[in-house]
Symmetry: none
Subunit: 210 residues, 4 copies
DNA sequence: AATGAATGAGAATTCATTCAT
DNA sequence: TATGAATGAATTCTCATTCAT
C-alpha cells in the first residue's frame, strides 16, 4: 500500500528524472559540481528549481543519480565482452575498441562525475565498488582465460588489467584536460594501443594486421 | 617602486608562501577545493585567515600557487631525462621509474589540483600548457631520437607518448580512487609496465631482464 | 447564486472540514503551527494536499477553523453555568470542576492554538474577543450575583475572575510544559483549588467538606 | 591553549551577544520565532546577517541564549526569597510582589520564548528543568517551612505551589493575549491575589491589612 | 471534487574577502 | 604585517499554494 505502481506515472517520472540527469550532467561537466547551481540545472532542464527536489533529495543525490546511470550502462556493456574464440590480437583490439566506445561517448559524464568523485569520500567508495571493481573483475577473468590458453604470455593479471584500465582512463583525462591530439585522433587509438600493448615497443616484432 | 628587494624579506615571504601552499595542498587533497575553506587552510598553516590574503590575492590564486610549484618541479625533473646511450630496455625502464618517482610522491598534490583543474577552464589551460605540453615535448623528442636510431620500432610518437603519460596519470587516478592493489604494489609497476610496453602481451617474446 | 444549499453536500462538506480540523489539531499540537506542513495534515487526514484548499483558503484559515470550533464549544459550555441557588462552596467547586472539564480534554487544542495565538496579532484579537471576553463576561455576572447576595465577601470581581481564569490557563500551560505532578493529579485539582480559593491559606479557617 | 582569555575581547563579545539577544527578544516577541528572520534580528541589532553566526550557531541557539539569560535572572531572584521571620500575610504578599516584579518586566522575554517552548520538545525540557523546577523547589521548601511553623494551614504543598505559579503565568499569558484590565491594573494584583489566596473567597473572614 | 506535481518566493546558513586595530 | 570580526552575496532547500488532469 506504499505506492500504486501506475505505469503511466512511472513513465512520466522516469522521463523527468532523465531530463534532470541530462541537464545536470551537462551543467556539472561544464562548471563542476560546486560551481553548478540547482538554478543552473533547473534552467537547462526547463523546470523550476523546486521540481528537482521532487525527484532528488539533494544536489548530491542528483550526482548519485548520474553515477547510477553510468553504473547501469557499465553493467550492460560488461556483458558484451568480445568472444574469446578468435585470434588473440583481434580479441584484444576488439576489447579496446569496445571499452573506448563505452568511454568516449560518456566523456561528458566522466567530466561531470570524476572531479567530485575524486574529492568526496562517499562517492569515491561508491564509484569504486560499483563501477571499477566490476570492470576489473570481468577483465581479470577474461585475461586469465586468455592467459590459460597460452594466447598471451604469462603476466601479472591484476596489475595488467589495472594498467589497461588506467591507460584508457588516463587518455580520457588527458583529453578532458584539453589535449587536441587525442581528441582528434581517438579513432586511431584502438589500433595504436593494440600495437603498443600487444607487440610492444621492442623492435623487430611487428605483426601484420588488418 | 614596485618592489623593495630586501633579501631577508624575500626569504620570509617565500617561507610564508610555502607554509600556506603546504597547508592548502593538504587541505585541498583532503576535502577538495570547494569544501576546503580559507579558515581550514589558515588553521593548518597556523596563521590567521586574513594573512593568507597578504600572500595570495584569492583562494584560486592559492591553487595556482600549488600548480606553479608542480610546474617548477616538473621542469626540474625534465632535465633529468635518462641518458639515451644505454641499452634501450634499461632506458625505458629508467624513464618509467623516474616518471613514477616524480608522480607518486606528488599524489597529494595531484589529488588537490586535478579535480579542480578538470573543472576550471582557466586552470585547465594553464595546467595543460605549463605541465603537460612540456612533458610531452621532451618525451616526444626523446622517443623520436630513440626511434631514429632504430632502438624502437617505428611508432606514432605523439600518440605513444600520450598513451604512456595517460597510463601513468590513469594509474595514479585509480589509486586516488581507492584501488588497494595499485597502492600496495606500485613499486612493482615500473617493471611490470616496462615488460608490458616493451615486450607486449604477444606470447613467445619474453626478454630476459633483471 | 452564492450557495447551492444541498443538504447532503453540506453534510459531506462538514464531515470533510471536521476531518481536516481534527488532523490539523493533532499535527499542530505535535509540531506547532509552523513546523506542521500542509502535507503533514493531509497525510493524517488521509487526503491529498490540494484538497485542503477546497475547504480552507490557507493554512492560517485552518487554524482559524480550530479556533472557531473552540469558540463554539466554549459558547455551548457557558450556558451550563452552575445554578446559583445552592451552597456557595458547592457552587464554586462545581464551577471549577466544569471549567476544568472543559479545558483539560481540549488540552491538545490549546497546545495547537495557544502558541500561534500568542504570536499572531490577528489571531490574538480574535481569540480574545471570541473566547476570553465571553468567558469573562459570563463569569463576572455570575460572581457579581453571588457577591450581591452576600455569598462571597466583597471582592474585585474583574480581577478575581481573571485570576481564576489565569489560574486554570496557567495550570494547563504548566502541564503542557511537561509538569508531571499536574498531569497525574489533575483530578484532585478542583478540590485543592476550591479549598485554596475559598478558604484561603490563612490558618484556622478550615471548613469541613465532602 | 584553546583560547587566550583576553578580558577586553570577552567584554566586546559579551556586549555583542547582548546586542543580538536584545534584538532577538524584541523581534521574537513581536513576530514569533518562525516569522522572525535572521535578517530582522540583524537589522534591529544594527549588524549584518552573517555576524549573528559569529556568536550563535543557529537561529535556535539564539533562542536558547534568551532562555539562558532568563534562567540566570531567575536564579538570581531565587536567592531574594522574603525573610520568613515576619508576619505571614506580609511574607506572602512580599513573595507575590517579588515574583511579579520578576515576571512582568520580562513579559517581552516570555512572549518571545513561551510560544516556541510550548512547541519544541527540546526547549520544553530545557525550560522546565532550568526555569520551572528550580522555582518550584525553592517555593516548596519555603511553603513547607511556613506550614511547619503553623503559619499556614496544612495544605498540599506541591499542588499549591503549582497553582500559584500557574496563577502568575496564566495572568501574564492573559495579559499577553491582550487583556487590558490586567495590563492596566497589574500593580494592584499582588494585593488582590494576597487577599484572594490568603483570606479566600469565604465571607466574614476579612483581615485588616496595610 | 480530488489529486499531487510544479512552482518560486523566501529563509537559514556559509564563507571568501575586507579592513580597522 | 598579522589578526580575526564583520560583511553580504550567493546557495541550497522548504513548503504554501496553484492548477492541469
Amino acid at each position: 500500500m506504499t505506492k500504486t505502481p501506475d505505469p503511466i506515472q512511472e513513465l512520466v517520472t522516469a522521463a523527468r528524472r532523465k531530463q534532470i540527469l541530462d541537464a545536470a550532467t551537462q551543467v556539472f561537466a561544464e562548471k563542476g559540481f560546486h560551481r553548478a547551481t540547482i538554478k543552473d540545472i533547473a534552467r537547462v532542464a526547463g523546470i523550476a528549481d523546486g521540481t528537482i527536489y521532487t525527484y532528488f533529495a539533494s544536489k548530491t543525490e542528483v550526482l548519485l543519480g548520474i553515477l547510477h546511470r553510468l553504473n547501469e550502462s557499465t553493467e550492460r556493456e560488461q556483458q558484451l565482452m568480445p568472444e574469446s574464440g578468435q585470434d588473440l590480437r583481434s580479441f584484444f583490439a576488439a576489447y579496446l575498441r569496445q571499452r573506448m566506445a563505452l568511454l568516449w561517448p560518456n566523456a561528458e559524464v566522466f567530466q561531470a562525475v570524476l572531479p567530485e568523485v575524486l574529492v568526496n569520500e562517499e562517492l569515491r567508495e561508491l564509484y569504486y565498488q560499483q563501477v571499477l571493481v566490476p570492470t576489473f573483475t570481468v577483465a581479470e577473468h577474461s585475461f586469465q582465460a586468455q592467459s590459460a590458453t597460452g594466447q598471451i604470455r604469462s603476466i601479472d593479471v591484476a596489475l595488467t588489467v589495472r594498467a589497461i584500465a588506467g591507460l584508457l582512463l588516463g587518455l580520457l583525462t588527458l583529453q578532458l584536460l584539453g589535449d587536441e591530439v587525442i581528441a582528434q585522433r581517438w579513432e586511431e587509438l584502438p589500433e595504436v594501443l593494440t600495437s603498443l600493448l600487444f607487440d610492444g615497443l621492442q623492435p623487430g616484432k611487428e605483426t601484420t594486421h588488418e
